[in-house]
Symmetry: C2
């Protein structure tokens, strides 16, 4: 019985890694589609988003089933509850990647990014991709060093988010109204993407140390 | 033992109602602060936001403690897991109310709302308040009729969200760049507020019917 249970907990972990890998490939494609106005790639992201939702729902069902049958306590209970929360954050990260792809599709054949903000958004996209990749590694290996690295990336993302607004409001970037709307939304999506990554690091930290921060 | 358990589940429900009441009063104040550029009220919302986070964390601790000690199954397990999810959505709703209040504070003594969008945002704010009030009732009474009513309100909110962008992009509302940024963010916050309310109705529906939709 105990062995079955440990196998089920490994299954939970494997599925979290699998979903995080999907988020990583989704944000990669979304960032590329956004940066290069690649509408076909944007549509691939949008079409694929339901699959992450299904994977997350499947994992939630498994987790609740484990709670019901195995009635875990202590660290096993923490792991099971954290899995529910992590899957919810991964699902939101996939949604946010989809939103970024949608901006590229809406504005096609124009670019969703005002000229003067291309570098800033390119940096934000690179950070998102790095964060997603480190999340995969964190879920696989639980290396506390990765928690710090993800949080540092989130700080960098927050700085760029502020910079987008400074640039937009300085009116030096010569964006039209559509460009201002798109830049505002895109920047917000990137910022939230980072918040969810940090939220997941908190869950892992809680698993490793029992500490909620 | 069984009686203690039922009492604890009632405690979970009472705390959810209590948090929802806080969200209701928070969104009321945030909407008023945003509509009338009332910076003192906005600051009250911002200062009070940590309290909702604490209430939600306290509820999560209680819920995990119940999972560990009582090892609920079937509908009791569903209720316990749903409580974790509902508290997470309520916490986000409170954060979004805080973001709306922050917009009012940032732009003070100016208004965060471009002139041509005041009516639209006033309607969005009214809908948010109605939704929050119906959520309190739903968490208290689990009346399925309220689920429908909240979803209808969310549809109305989504229509207004589209309308904000139409108006902003038509450039007839004569908004400056700051106005466009603020309107874009505010509209997004209202839309997400509604999404979380619907997310909670799905949890209640799941409790009532076992159906995940």
């Amino acid at each position: 019985m105990r062995e079955v249970f440990q196998q089920e907990l490994r299954e939970v972990q494997d599925r979290l890694v699998q979903i995080a890998e999907r988020v990583e490939s989704t944000i990669q494609k979304a960032v590329t589609a956004f940066g290069s106005s690649d509408v076909a790639l944007a549509e691939q992201v949008i079409d694929g988003s339901a699959e992450v939702d299904e994977l997350a729902s499947g994992l939630d069902e498994l987790t609740i089933d484990i709670l019901a049958r195995q009635q875990p306590v202590a660290s096993d209970l923490r792991l099971t509850v954290s899995a529910l929360r992590i899957s919810s954050s991964l699902e939101r990260m996939s949604d946010l990647a989809e939103h970024i792809a949608q901006l590229a599709r809406y504005r096609y054949p124009e670019s969703a990014i005002p000229q003067g903000l291309r570098k800033t958004f390119s940096k934000m996209g690179d950070i998102d991709i790095k964060m997603a990749s480190k999340l995969v590694a964190l879920l696989r290996e639980q290396d506390p060093q990765l928690i710090e690295e993800i949080r540092d990336l989130d700080d960098a993302l927050d700085e760029l988010h502020v910079k987008v607004f400074e640039k937009v409001l300085s009116e030096k970037i010569n964006a039209d109204t559509t460009g201002v709307v798109d830049a505002t939304l895109a920047s917000r999506y990137h910022e939230r993407f980072g918040d969810h990554a940090v939220h997941i690091t908190k869950q892992i930290n809680y698993l490793l140390s029992g500490d909620v921060q």
